[in-house]
Symmetry: D3
Subunit: 317 residues, 6 copies
């Protein structure tokens, strides 16, 4: 039995030390990151049997992606291709007012040519949940088609499907995203969407609760989770509305926070938890992630439970 | 003439870089730490002639403990034993809500077999002050017996003896600690205790001043210093009560703050200062320690004086 | 179907930078190492489905062992115990004449209390090969008993069992080792032994080929592999004798070379290769390992094949 | 056509890692810094054609100064001398209450013997602006004479001359500074001065605006810019007064902030901007500098414009 | 007056620490490298006024290429393009028998779209020498056309043109290379070619001197330099033949050695030296480069002269 | 009772990572070094009670010198002066043919003003041996006078005095050295001198044994030790001549090898050993030093004994 299957791209993440610029750094921290594998890692850290599906170059770089995900407890179902490239992204952390800068170098990566036939989709047959994001169909037409096919297959196999809209302006326009993504929504049970993306991409207006109702009505989602940055998250599940504030965190690395939220949420849901408990787990996992360098939520269920119970840390000795 | 003698365990301290977890780190910062040697270092930094007594493995690891303490100006009176082990502790710093995690690996370390005969206790004969903590007797029955013997010897030699309760839940229960520690108090002139330890271990209730009075009455302490985290410290000395707020600090590493406080306090007392001045020095040394990586308070008397005088830093050039 | 199962201890490996001493270093490289997991990693790198059995503390340190082995493609069958400790070893690399120094701190580690009942021994039922070493029974009486039980179970299940004598003078005497190990040999099909260990522990004399014949005769081994450092290896398999020189290597880290040899050998044997081809793979994997920091042979089958074919590297671009 | 010429000393900057002390560190970050080259770098980053004039040892250390400045887009006009030394400064960053400590080791550096004849002053002939600071004449009598000669030449050539008072108590007394600096003011068009330096060195009293008016009146400055730390800057230009608050910043390294302010200001002025726009550019460049390790403002015009427009950062992806 | 102009691609070079693999490293050293800029750097280090022509992304990564080359004294004539990518290469150093592994990720980099119109080719008008390599035309059809155009322009302007064949099997086949490159030879005065490339790409046989004569005859080169790895170089210049052994070196990083050879050779030639003196300078520069991490020959004329004079180092103090 | 007293300068040693140049490095390893303190450290490592006399700035840099020497077991007798500077030296390690480059920046360091009155010379009263080198009198006239005074005092107190000629061409000429040094020899019992220095500075010719005899005759030395690099050392003691080859070593850092030799030699002599045993200890300590980064011989008597006995290392586990 598999709890959670995700599908998407994982990139090499290259970041200079704190306070140093891409223009001048002599060293990169080397990590991996990708929305869907980030979710799988958060899920596996929280005891889900998680599988990540994708395509990678048959190279040391492709193997390191597999190795790091396995180290975090994720099983991988990967198509390998000779002479393909691994997408990379450069991440420069900067305090205010400089801000954090991301430079993608992901065009023509291995996953842009992935087909359903290359992937071990049989794993979906006994999966509890399937998750992907709006980044994957933005990578290429082929990736968009494969996203659709995998979503359909997951849905047909009885998995609960979830989708994080995750709009990336460097990959496509609002209009392109809207056309492609809304077309996929028929196969999605649960939508995660930032409020600003709901407005810009899905053309919604009003308070979060109105946006959630509108989306649920228009697309038939069972669950809609609206995230609002520091203002916390709101979930509409059937007729019920739940609100969840953020847990405060000393942020060392904000990248991957949203994925940790989704992973925490899904881990509770897959374990049979209610939506409000899932929101708590999502928010707690996200806050822990903020204290950890890298995209990945290297956390334990006990840590998440402690944050939910107490909301803070301290020295344990 | 020796100003300050301390007795206790020093461990190897292994900590991953900020933002990195024990589970995934590829590197450790290597330092040393132990409550009693931390106090000796703070004392020596503030011009006390300080001696640390203990037992170590006769190995490069044992020698590095001696070397680092000597570097900080502490003289060492150490029994060495072949094939013994050095206690270690793993320290993972985490921002909120993750918190800081300490994993001890100190069982059966060299010091657990220490006897009074192995130690150069003659140094106590002309010592102004002797200090140890509630960690040492928690390490083993043998260590507890030796703690008692050394305290008795120090007291008999005319040194002012001080004791920091320092309860460690990973070493023993409240009940075990209470039985052993209260039995040692007959030889203690000054007690340092966190308010929460006074409550949990010594079964006290009420405001800090009441706790201090109760302890002084019950055990005959000349001085009782109650620490209350961010709320500062309170000292009862004879009939007088002194309160000391904390100096604000940008905390980079909170480990060793309490020991720096004691070291600062004792350095002023050994130099003939009053209890209120000693509290100021303790608080100032503690606040400086928070800005420094590692257990050790690498500070100067001039820096402590400046904090007491101004309470802040700036750029000096 | 499982190709290779190994059983033994994995430790945390802490090593200062090149040229720096344990006594003075401010940093450790953090890795893991243990003879049996090293073999499993070499096997998995060379496409064996490998499983490592052991016992670990239920802590971040225990989880990092599992994570690193998974990253290298090894499945883990681990019993976890609260409050247990992870064995550690300090490794100081030194050029000549200083030499490399290893300090073990492994007493009372989690694996010393391992019982057969705690281990998922069902994995042996369809295993092609089982491997352990003379280190495991040296760790404790309990570990010795469990080693015997696991060897028996593997043998009974039809796996080819192999055993690397791996004498460690810091764990036991020649006499203790001889008594315990020869008692296990009844369940061993293939013995790997350094010539100097055969002499010192097993009381053998003469040329390698005589030693091999004597051991095969006395203990009924199907295969005996004698390693002789720079002089290469000799295998006796049935009546056949094979010799294998070493492939020259620029040695950056010699630790784990012997385990890489065994892993390379077994990977070829499990894949149906002859003993002489297995010796080549063993020697090639060992020579590649020497160029890599850490105990683990992070290599590919293609690299091993190239060394066998050409015996050298160069720049590929 | 050259936009900006500066003249002064650049030193090697040696700083231990955050949280580590000069007394104990095993590593230094190696950078360069000097008020006048910092200004030239900020100018070049903001698209000015900048030239830095100075004297350096003919050594790898001298060449690294030239190399780093060139890397940042600054042209260098340097006299080299065999066997001269490069000034160095040790910089220890400390959080509060420890503060940041600077130790200069700059006595007898190469620049202390610089003469006008050694410098390629022809570059001043078509320069828009010339800038130096009160540090340069403090280095030696020779340096003071050369500063005067270069200022005169710049002024005669028609460049707008600016001067940052930059009092350094470790180099000279208030009285020495006053005597030397006021003597140079005849050739200065624009003065930058911290309010506390105006008070202590130039003997001024009252509000910033009064101080500015007084200085302009007494010395005939066209522009006076008074900086007041967190309270922002005030400029008097002819009869007009402009005020500029600081942009908030997460300060990682405060050294060089004032020079970044001047560089930002001058870059706008050289490009024909008004004083109020120049103040905005100065403040924005300074706030960006605070997020960057090292003296140098490695920024872009786009970043400065964004800060002016929005005043904050975020994640761009 | 410009001494040397080169044209080609510069990439970001990412390499893990010695002994660590791409598959597992947590850190990259970040440098830049490219055959033609490497030659320009060696030239500038040896006092040539050098210019590098190319195309880069208008990004921090593009700017760092310019900055590093400027730091090394090279002037840059660069076309910038938004949203273009910088070619990268991953370099894993391995001792024998593992060897060094290079993974290129350079497809569709900015320079693949470069046109002659984008480049400031006016610099060729007063250039003494122009140099490019067989890598540039292999990057794209457009790059090949531009290479031809620039060569023609250089030749027409009277520069001595040189060309390093530099065959890269990962970019094209022997046949493709032969067709394209021989077509360019009409505009080349001096050819540098490894003997193995002369054989494989240019279909030559026999001793180096025969190969050189054949190439000179067939293509009209004024100078042909054949490099033979450890066996040194041979030059045919007109009717004269010169041989040059290698200077022995402790090789830390072999990448860029060939470019250092060319840079050293050209610097002597541009300064009016004979071919035999140029070979000495080439060999000496190459041997120094081998001791330095990175592609770039950060050397001085004095160091090169010393190697030529003495052939070795020692401690100078 | 003090075994060994030394007097001289200790500098801050700044060195870039292997393969990196002073001109480009972004990091320095920070250590300390000085011939006389190096000897004291080697002595203390080999169980001599060692004292180092000198003058330092009263600053964190001065304190770090004291701290590092104390860590290595050396007692310090130091005069501190406000606002003085610590000598520094830049050390760039380079393989052949680049060689190792040392840049001194030691002019006007604190020790150049040292007077006998500032030093705690009472320690000489019960000292077995006193040692200094030809570097100290080269630092300043004042340092030369003080060297003479300390030598006289040591000699008068009955200590065996030794002197390592240690000619530094960057500090003075052969002639200056000869005049100053020969004048000191009246107070020297044992001279250490490199053969090339004996030739160049002391104007000697012929084989080492002749040089030794000549020096002993001319200056009345009890012992003369001539070192000849790879050819080993020769000692003349009274009428006896001893030769000592070098122990082979994998050299990681050659700096301090000569001082380790002297320290090893003196430690054996102070312990009552013969000159031939002292030569063995000197050579063994020197060979161990070569494997260790930094000037200091962090070794143990057991290691030295093992080298003398076996001459090599290996892996001990």
């Amino acid at each position: 039995m598999t709890d959670l299957v995700t599908f998407g791209e994982t990139m090499l993440r290259l970041s200079p030390p704190q306070g140093t610029r891409l223009e001048t750094t002599d060293a990169f921290d080397v990590r991996i990151g990708g929305a869907e594998s980030n979710v799988a890692v958060a899920g596996a850290s929280l005891d889900l049997d998680s599988v990540w599906l994708s395509k990678l170059p048959d190279s040391p770089l492709g193997r390191r992606v597999v190795g790091e995900l396995r180290a975090r407890g994720v099983r991988t179902g990967v198509a390998f291709e000779d002479d393909a490239r691994l997408g990379t992204y450069y991440l420069e952390h900067g305090g205010e007012p400089r801000g954090t800068n991301v430079i993608y170098d992901r065009a023509d990566s291995a996953v842009t040519t992935v087909t359903p036939e290359e992937l071990p989709l049989g794993v979906l047959e006994d999966a509890t949940a399937f998750h992907t994001t709006g980044i994957t169909p933005a990578l290429s037409d082929r990736a968009a088609e494969t996203t659709r096919a995998v979503l359909e297959r997951a849905s047909a196999a009885g998995a609960t499907t979830s989708f994080d809209l995750n709009y990336r302006s460097k990959l496509w326009s609002h209009e392109e995203a809207r056309a492609t993504l809304t077309d996929l929504f028929a196969h999605v049970d649960a939508l995660f969407v930032a409020k600003r993306d709901a407005e810009a991409v899905l053309d919604r207006e009003g308070e979060a609760v109105e946006v959630a109702h509108g989306l649920a009505t228009d697309f038939g989602f069972e669950t809609v989770v609206i995230t609002r940055g520091d203002r916390g998250a709101l979930a509409l599940h059937g007729d019920e509305v739940f609100e969840q504030p953020v847990y405060e965190a000393d942020t060392l690395d904000a990248i991957g926070t949203g994925d940790a939220f989704v992973g925490g949420f899904l881990s509770k849901r897959c374990a049979g938890g209610d939506v409000d408990a899932a929101l708590e787990w999502g928010a707690a996992t996200a806050s822990l992630k903020r204290t950890i360098a890298g995209d990945l939520a290297v956390v334990t269920p006990e840590e998440v439970e402690r944050v939910v119970a107490e909301g803070d840390g301290g020295i344990s000795r």
